[in-house]
């Protein structure tokens, strides 16, 4: 594996490691972005109104049970496409539940007295959401996005099963060819990428979350 990693030939070019990392990141962020766009507003709505929580949470949980591999294959067969779209579908299905659940949890965890005070001082529903609920729920919202990211990053490996690139290419090719160094390299890079993204979100959390929420 070390040899594989230190061989500079393996790093460059459009099949090189750098290119694979960029591809992997692209799949990850595309899926993550779409998951956020779908799950965040729904989570915010449920958390703010506290209506529909039961349904959303249970649907979210059920979605966690969807096997990504099967979903990917169904997506390929149904869209009659190989390539990015089916992968995106499978990864988004993976990303939505944690974001939805933690956004809801973040908002519903806001102390009722705090919201009462906000309403009592004349904040509108929108103001309560943007000035009180979101900032206070932010740590949990971010942690939801963070765990969605981890799952997506690790599962984006399966993109290689349907001909796409990304770091999964090494894992899948390594698997097919019983080329262990290559496979280890892929797995390790995925894990490192996950750690790096995790650190990135930790940093985002540190920057955006009010220090007042971190005391005690």
């Amino acid at each position: 594996m070390w040899e594989y990693l230190t061989d500079s030939f393996n790093w460059s070019g459009n099949e090189g490691i750098w290119a694979r990392i960029v591809e992997h990141l692209w799949y990850t962020f595309a899926a993550l972005g779409l998951s956020v766009v779908i799950a965040l507003p729904i989570g915010l709505r449920i958390g703010h109104t506290r209506r529909g929580a039961f349904l959303a949470i249970n649907l979210g949980n059920a979605a966690r049970a969807l096997p990504s591999l099967g979903l990917l294959m169904i997506a390929v067969l149904l869209t009659d496409q190989i390539g990015f779209l089916p992968v995106l579908i499978a990864l988004v299905a993976l990303g939505i539940p944690p974001i939805l659940a933690s956004t809801y949890a973040g908002l519903s965890g806001v102390d009722a007295a705090t919201i009462d005070a906000a309403r009592g001082m004349g904040m509108t529903g929108r103001e309560i959401l943007t000035k009180v609920e979101i900032p206070i729920g932010l740590p949990l919202i971010i942690s939801g996005i963070r765990s969605a990211t981890l799952q997506i990053v690790s599962t984006a490996t399966i993109a290689a099963l349907v001909s796409l690139g990304g770091l999964g290419r090494y894992v899948v090719d390594g698997l097919k060819l019983r080329d262990f160094p290559q496979m280890f390299t892929g797995a390790l890079l995925v894990a490192l990428l996950a750690i790096a993204l995790d650190a990135l979100f930790a940093l985002i959390g540190r920057i955006t979350v009010s220090p007042g929420l971190k005391i005690g």
Partner: protein, 332 residues
């Protein structure tokens, strides 16, 4: 004046929390709602700023039905303080206080400087301004809550058991500060508590509610103690009612006797009682001229000589009063 006319609140589950409540809350005074748990105090209070909507009846402020106004606008003109303050944990102290001014569109600087003034006014060190609520003690948080409610200079302040989560000593301080503050600002304050002592201490008027949301009695505290309307109120105002009532007996001027030689003074301030030995006996509690009979009685009861010491505003002894005088005053 805030007026309740036949106001009823029935929750969706059928609970009647407030039942045909009619009440006039005078302006620029403190009116306290008191009563056992679940009697509808919070519900009554929150109907005033429409964070709870009434089921029937009318509530009006200075003659205008509050339903005629936009709820958000109404609330911005009413200060609201609750138990544990309900501070925004993600904002600093000064940001918390500046919330309403910013909401109503003041520029940042003005909101900020007003907030700083208010912090001083409620007795908070301005050094605390940049802290977050979690870094404050309960009593400090409560002060921030009061400052925040005052920030837009509302004519009305609603306070729901604001001091019940802090320890007795801090509670006492907060009560004193509220009274001091009210002397300056003269707001219309509606204050909810379940502590009858607090009600008596703070209220210009006290509304006693019974479970089911009915008004049992509405009266100034002295009246309440002297003439409880019924057994429920009598039970509620409790043991020591007679003694508490003395709080409101201000005998015109108790005849004060000249200072006896046994009272050792320093610059006029009483130090203790001489009893022949080296050590002085403690003075006991002292009272001021114009204080209530309660204070005078306590002074007499705590003094080792049976003579209570009367002092002026500077703490200098101006005379003493003995048990006979107090007993005489009690009789009258």
């Amino acid at each position: 004046m805030i007026e309740f006319e036949d106001v009823t609140k029935r929750y969706p589950d059928g609970t009647v929390a407030v039942d045909k409540l009619s009440l006039r809350i005078p302006s620029n005074q403190i009116t306290v709602f008191v009563g056992p748990s679940g009697c509808g105090k919070t519900t009554s209070l929150r109907m005033i700023n429409r964070t709870i909507e009434r089921t029937s009846g009318t509530i009006s402020i200075d003659g205008d039905d509050i339903n005629g106004k936009d709820a958000v606008t109404l609330r911005r003109g009413i200060g609201y303080v609750i138990q544990n303050a309900g501070l925004f944990p993600h904002k600093t102290v000064v940001e918390n206080v500046a919330t309403v001014p910013k909401l109503i569109g003041w520029d940042k600087r003005k909101a900020h400087s007003t907030a700083m003034e208010l912090l001083e006014r409620v007795g908070l060190d301005v050094k605390l301004a940049e802290r977050y609520p979690a870094q404050l003690s309960g009593g400090q948080q409560q002060r921030v809550g009061v400052a925040r409610a005052l920030a837009a200079d509302p004519a009305i302040m609603l306070m729901d058991e604001p001091f019940s989560a802090v320890d007795p000593i801090v509670r006492h301080q907060l009560q004193e500060e509220l009274l001091r503050l009210q002397r300056d600002i003269g707001k219309t304050i509606v204050f909810v508590t379940h502590d009858i002592d607090e009600a008596i201490k703070l209220g210009d008027n006290v509304a006693v509610l019974r479970v089911g949301g009915k008004l049992a009695q509405f009266a100034p505290p002295a009246e309440l103690l002297a003439n409880p309307a019924d057994e429920f109120v009598r039970g509620f105002v409790g043991q020591d009612r007679g003694y508490r009532a003395l709080t409101f007996v201000h005998p015109e001027a108790l005849p004060v006797k000249p200072l006896p030689d046994e009272l050792a003074l320093q610059d006029g301030v009483p130090l203790g009682w001489r009893n022949g030995s080296e050590e002085l006996l403690p003075v006991g509690s002292v009272f001021k001229r114009g204080d209530s009979l309660r204070a005078a009685l306590d002074a007499v009861l705590t003094s080792p000589t049976g003579c209570g010491v009367c002092v002026d505003d500077n703490g200098k002894a101006v005379g003493v009063i003995d048990q006979a005088t107090v007993a005489e005053a009690l009789r009258s």
